[in-house]
Chain length 392, copies 2
């Protein structure tokens, strides 16, 4: 089938309907992905009517196989060849099993006796610590960066304990913006934080003020997936109630957690809905292998029974892994790039421009500032130069 439609409107540049979710951006963030939906919508209409603007011709038939249906395969191959990179941030009080969960999630001893989790190494104040690992599975290469925040929420006074976290996220956006603005763009490593797993204490009482505060300050910077840690301390009924309380509080405080998008396939949507309904994921992690019914599985052995990690009747670990790794890893990267990063970039450039206008700073001073960023002939643009525009 060949169809003529208005070419200026015939592509969906990156985002889909669900981003209506991001409608409530703060007024400073001008970037509104929902405008794209309108374009899509118009395009659909044109297709139906068969009266596009460009050609004025009705759809025509292709009388054979041209072969561009193979394009997605070309994209597939190239992506395998290039490899993938993903940065996962874990935030939550120490002792909630963050390191163990990461080990369980990627079936690797990222943290071990030789190299224990950050909380065993770093103390007192909130720090940000990154660990990188190159994983390979079925010919697909993934450079995984885990960003941990030891010390988060552990102090008596936890005011501003989200600051190092927001600083880290912003600094990675800034790095990327600088890389993107260079004249000579040889490498563009993407170290932006693509997802933040936020661990909630299994108290049964709801969110703490710190939880609310943290998520509110981070939700328009990063994709937040809330989790209930050490879920084996709650009975199924308690867990259900606790989840309901948490979701209510999240809605009440207008916190925007990462919304798993619907996919086009009806069947798969049904499957995914079941997993999606388990948010916030109540998980149990384990580094220990236990023999259960002849099979060796990751589990926690108690005198009253064995909690199997990969058992959906025991906890939501499988749901988390499926949604996070198997079906939505790429979407998390896309939303980071198309929504959070674009917002950061917009605010950064717009605010610099406004400041410059207000202060009317002399350009000579600013040149000194930018000169420091020069490195062996490589120059940075955009951010600093906007100052000149309004500054002079």
């Amino acid at each position: 089938m060949l169809q003529f439609v208005s070419p200026s409107k015939c592509l969906d540049f990156g985002l889909s309907k669900r981003e209506a979710f991001f409608k409530n951006e703060p007024p400073t963030a001008k970037f509104d992905p929902t405008t794209r939906d309108k374009l899509d919508h118009k395009m659909d209409k044109e297709k139906e009517n068969g009266h596009p603007e460009t050609s004025g011709k009705a759809p025509k038939e292709l009388d054979g196989y041209v072969g561009f249906a193979n394009l997605p395969n070309q994209v597939y191959r190239k992506s395998v060849k290039r490899g993938f990179e993903f940065t996962l941030m874990v935030v939550g009080q120490s002792g909630l099993g963050k390191s163990t969960l990461i080990n369980t999630l990627f079936l690797t001893d990222l943290y071990s006796a030789d190299y224990p989790g950050p909380s065993y190494r770093i103390k007192k104040t909130v720090q940000v610590e990154t660990t990188q690992v190159l994983l390979k599975e079925g010919g697909v290469q993934l450079r995984l960066t885990v960003v941990d925040t030891p010390g988060f929420g552990d102090a008596v006074d936890n005011s501003n304990c989200w600051q190092p976290v927001t600083d880290y996220i912003d600094s990675k956006y800034e790095e990327y913006l600088n890389a993107e603005s260079r004249v000579n763009r040889k490498t563009m490593p993407d170290n932006r934080v693509h997802c933040c797993l936020y661990f909630i204490t299994p108290s049964g009482h709801g969110l703490k003020p710190l939880d609310v505060e943290f998520m509110k300050r981070l939700h328009d910077k990063v994709n937040i997936i809330p989790m209930i840690a050490k879920a084996d301390t709650m009975t199924p009924d308690e867990c259900r109630e606790f989840k309901k309380t948490i979701l209510n509080e999240i809605a009440q405080h207008k916190i925007k957690i990462y919304e798993f998008p619907e996919c086009d396939d009806e069947e798969e949507n049904k499957l995914q809905k079941k997993l999606k309904d388990r948010v916030p994921f109540a998980v149990v992690g384990s580094n220990t292998l236990v023999s259960v019914g002849g099979k060796t599985v990751r589990a926690r052995q108690y005198p009253w029974g064995i909690v199997e990690v990969e058992n959906l009747e025991h906890n939501d670990f499988l749901a988390l892994r499926n949604m996070l790794v198997r079906t939505h890893l790429h979407d998390l990267k896309d939303v980071t790039n198309n929504v959070h990063y674009e917002n950061y970039r917009y605010n950064k450039l717009a605010s610099v421009a406004t400041k410059g206008k207000e202060k009317a700073v002399g350009s000579k001073e600013l040149n000194l500032e930018t000169a420091e960023d020069e490195d062996s002939g490589e120059k940075y643009y955009s951010v600093f130069f906007s100052l000149h525009k309004y500054g002079i």
Copy 2:
């Protein structure tokens, strides 16, 4: 298998070995994709030695299926959902069958009696004309833009007849650079020319000076695929000889035509090599359907026989379509983005910076220039602001 390697070096950001081909860039083009190969190489070594810099640990085993091997499938789906866009330029004297070939290539009457090829509509001077069509095949949507250059080489004096073509290509790069530099980047349509099919007259004598001149001026701006038009005027022996002459002249004049990259699969490489060896593709196009042996095929019927378009013993059309559409469309886009566009951007920004330095122009004047580019609150950065850096 889990392997620890130096994370800063573990990804191939976009380009592969064959880009050694682009080594001979003119001195102004600083962008050298081959530097990436060195990084890759170092990484390979590290993997072999098992002594990476980051962790100091030997590779470890994954004890199960994590699921990120599904990442390429996520990319695949997203690409289908978004749709594709491709811009194909055809250049060559009128009457060489460019419009017919485009019709044949995409099995569509892009040009017809109602809307004839550009040479029937536009006369005398070289103009650039674009036609867009939305094609759909097996659920994959392709917005195809065909850029034609009626009048090319048709005049008595053809000096500078490549100018409108280079201007067009540059203007699309500039558009993209501007879109990329906006503060509010809502849409980023890609109208850059991804491939130029250059039609050589089937003279049997080799390239004309205009052919050489054109390709030399365009080869570092766009992917050129040379073709011999109307190949049914040559016997197989004549065709072989003609191709040899052309390739020799191309080498002699150091013209860099698009190099079809090797793929990882040995079997497929062998298959592709056979097709690749047919460059420059000697093709025959046809809008006429002829019945041959009970089958209806696109062909040209002569009193002495029928030339079948899709018969590799008659001409190279199938080789062209396979290489262009089925296997390398995405790579053509990638090379355009990673090599040609990056070169354009580098030269643009670097030259603006240098000019600014030499002239030491006052900033007030420049502000007037940039102000014209402002459109409903959207601001352009990078290019113009670099002037301020050196100008003050």
